[in-house]
């Protein structure tokens, strides 16, 4: 067994040579198109769009800080009232949001981690390994991206009903582990981010394919894996149709099921509904506030190649 350690000469460990965290961002020199400075009109339009994007979110918080009576008056409120904490508290308990947050974190976390892992190894195989059927399989992956999951819900629902998995989290997790987009995304990234020579070098050192993945591919893919993980987390967190079909508000809801249940309940207290919507959105808005730049970069990165 000592042979395994003699594999990689300490002088040139393959994993340190490929770490280039700056890869995700495009070099400034490649930017082109409009390097002209923006005029005042451009800033006005941008300001309008920014307000349009953010206003409904801010107003959610404003409405959540009022009460039902105030929301049934004109003009509508434009500033915060004093009910925010009370409403958040009631919505949290009424909508079962504590459990919902816990469930959604498990679902989105498991799904994102699995998708990232499986997409990275599959993306690596499609990007760098030669095997029979590669082209055809890649076509299937791309074709899969075009088929909306909504069309498959009926047999999935029959399966879940037969296994008596309704109201159980695995019913939501399992179908969310497949992401053709993830495979495509990682393939596009690894094609340009992972030089063939490094794989060759590891091969010459006698590394098996699995060791190559572990010591060469994963370090090189880390930035893209982070972005894909965030995109998948957001997507699974916000998933609505399938969780809505198999989970109920009282049994193991995800956040979206719980929030939607608030709106469909018998107590149409609008300020409470807004409080629930606010709570359901807040975690992701925080993620975006912190990692916004990386997420923007990731979406743009995926777009150029797509």
């Amino acid at each position: 067994m000592t042979t395994t350690t003699s594999m990689t000469p300490p002088s040139s460990p393959p994993d340190t040579t490929v770490k280039k965290p700056g890869r995700m961002r495009r070099p400034k020199s490649a930017r082109a198109g409009g390097q002209m400075h923006a005029g005042p009109i451009a800033y006005v339009i941008l300001a309008l769009f920014t307000i349009g994007s953010l206003f409904p979110l801010v107003w959610t918080a404003i409405a959540a800080s009022r009460d039902n009576n105030r929301l049934a008056q004109t003009p509508p409120p434009f500033w915060f009232g004093g009910n925010l904490l009370d409403n958040l508290d009631i919505a949290w308990n009424d909508a079962n949001l504590g459990e919902a947050f816990f469930n959604t974190t498990i679902v989105a976390g498991t799904s994102a981690a699995t998708v990232v892992f499986l997409s990275t190894i599959a993306g690596f195989a499609f990007a760098k390994l030669k095997f029979r059927g590669r082209g055809a399989m890649m076509l299937i992956v791309i074709g899969t991206m075009m088929v909306p999951p909504q069309l498959s819900v009926i047999p999935l629902y029959m399966m879940v009903a037969k296994l008596e998995w309704t109201d159980q989290l695995q019913a939501v997790i399992l179908p969310s582990l497949v992401s053709a987009f993830g495979v495509f995304f990682m393939r596009q990234y690894l094609i340009q981010a992972l030089p063939d020579e490094i794989i060759e070098a590891a091969r010459v050192d006698g590394a098996s394919s699995w060791r190559v993945v572990w010591h060469v591919v994963f370090p090189a893919a880390r930035p893209a894996m982070a972005v894909l993980g965030m995109l998948m987390f957001v997507q699974t967190w916000n998933d609505f149709l399938w969780p809505f079909l198999v989970l109920s508000q009282t049994g193991n809801p995800t956040v979206q099921v719980a929030v939607a249940g608030l709106g469909r309940g018998y107590t149409p207290d609008q300020s409470l509904i807004m409080a629930g919507a606010l709570l359901g959105t807040l975690p992701l808005l925080l993620v975006f506030a912190i990692f916004g730049k990386q997420i923007v970069g990731g979406i743009m990165q995926g777009a150029v190649k797509g």
Partner: protein, 334 residues
């Protein structure tokens, strides 16, 4: 045992030999042969090992359900006994095509799709053009425009229900200033479809703008410089340089938006919380996605719901073929 095959063939020559009879070298050779065989097996099969988890999951949760939907659409299946299937041939399809609500839902899906997609992509294009200028705080605008994308359908729909409220909603309050009387955004057909589309537009414009922006940044600068030398105005440059370069991206976003538009579900479901699956009291904003849900989960006819899903699938295939033909034409012409 997985660690064994990682040994480099020539690494151990002296180690195993001491005290061995002349059979030693052949033993080493045998090991070397074994290792290289293992090596070849690794090179040959590991790609399949890497892609197989994805394909196995895809088979189980993607392909199989899709095909089984087609099979179920030829049967009578009720929600109460999902395993009890009776062959009915194409009757589910004839039933659907005879149902006025199906055509109503198909029309609504089409109009909501157009109202939501066309302005969305046009605005995204303009926005991307502006974001492509040198800007102060450019990251801030990009993140701000992506905030709706981070908002779930459920939360967004619930807020817009309030904003579009007939009596106390902010939008009617603002319209009042320009002399437009209170609009019933829920019961009237076109206003309700515009309101539902607004939710879609709000959530996706910023995302599409980023995709266009990425494509714009990949256009080589010298194309603009030579256009400027020829005396082309900024507008002309946009028409003759930017748009042609963005063709594949535009096609991509159109396809993705079309797929999204065929399956609009949560927005209309939550837009009238009391009516739920019917999409308004007169079905005025019931989409195909909602119609599928109504047939399958409210009326409990899973077979008929499968027929709706399969019909939607066929529509998407037609869209895909049209898209393929158009993109080939475009490539041939340029």
């Amino acid at each position: 045992m997985a660690t064994h095959d990682t040994a480099a063939p020539p690494a151990k020559e002296g180690g195993a030999a001491p005290g061995r009879p002349p059979a030693g070298p052949t033993g080493a050779e045998r090991r070397r042969a074994r290792l290289s065989r293992r090596w070849q097996r690794d090179m040959r099969w590991s790609p399949y090992a890497f892609v197989s988890p994805f394909f196995l999951l895809f088979l189980a949760f993607g392909l199989f359900p899709l095909i089984y939907t087609g099979w179920a659409s030829l049967h009578q299946v009720e929600m109460t006994a999902p395993t009890d299937m009776h062959w009915v041939g194409l009757r589910n399809y004839t039933r659907i095509f005879d149902d006025d609500f199906f055509w109503n839902a198909a029309k609504n899906t089409l109009t909501i799709g157009i109202i939501s997609t066309v302005p969305q992509l046009l605005m995204a294009m303009g926005l991307a053009h502006i974001l492509n200028y040198k800007l102060r705080a450019s990251t801030f605008y990009r993140v701000a425009m992506l905030a709706p994308y981070a908002t779930s359908i459920a939360a967004a729909s619930l807020v817009f229900v309030l904003l579009f409220g007939r009596d106390y909603g902010m939008i009617n309050w603002a319209l009042d200033f320009v002399g437009i009387g209170p609009i019933d955004w829920q019961s009237d057909k076109w206003p309700s479809q515009i309101a539902v589309s607004t939710i879609v537009i709000w959530r996706w414009t910023g995302y599409n703008a980023l995709i266009y922006l990425a494509a714009m940044q990949a256009i080589p600068q010298d194309l603009y410089e030579s256009a400027a030398l020829d005396g082309a105005s900024r507008w002309k440059q946009f028409i003759h340089v930017t748009l042609p370069s963005l063709r594949p991206t535009i096609l991509f976003t159109v396809v993705v938006s079309t797929i999204g538009a065929t399956q609009v579900f949560g927005e209309p479901l939550l837009f009238d919380a009391n009516k739920g699956a019917s999409g308004g009291s007169e079905h005025q904003f019931q989409t195909l996605g909602l119609y599928l849900y109504e047939q399958g989960w409210v009326n409990q006819h899973l077979g008929r719901a499968s027929a709706i899903a399969w019909t939607m699938f066929l529509i998407l295939i037609v869209v895909g073929i049209v898209n393929y033909v158009i993109s080939r034409r475009l490539r041939a012409s340029s």
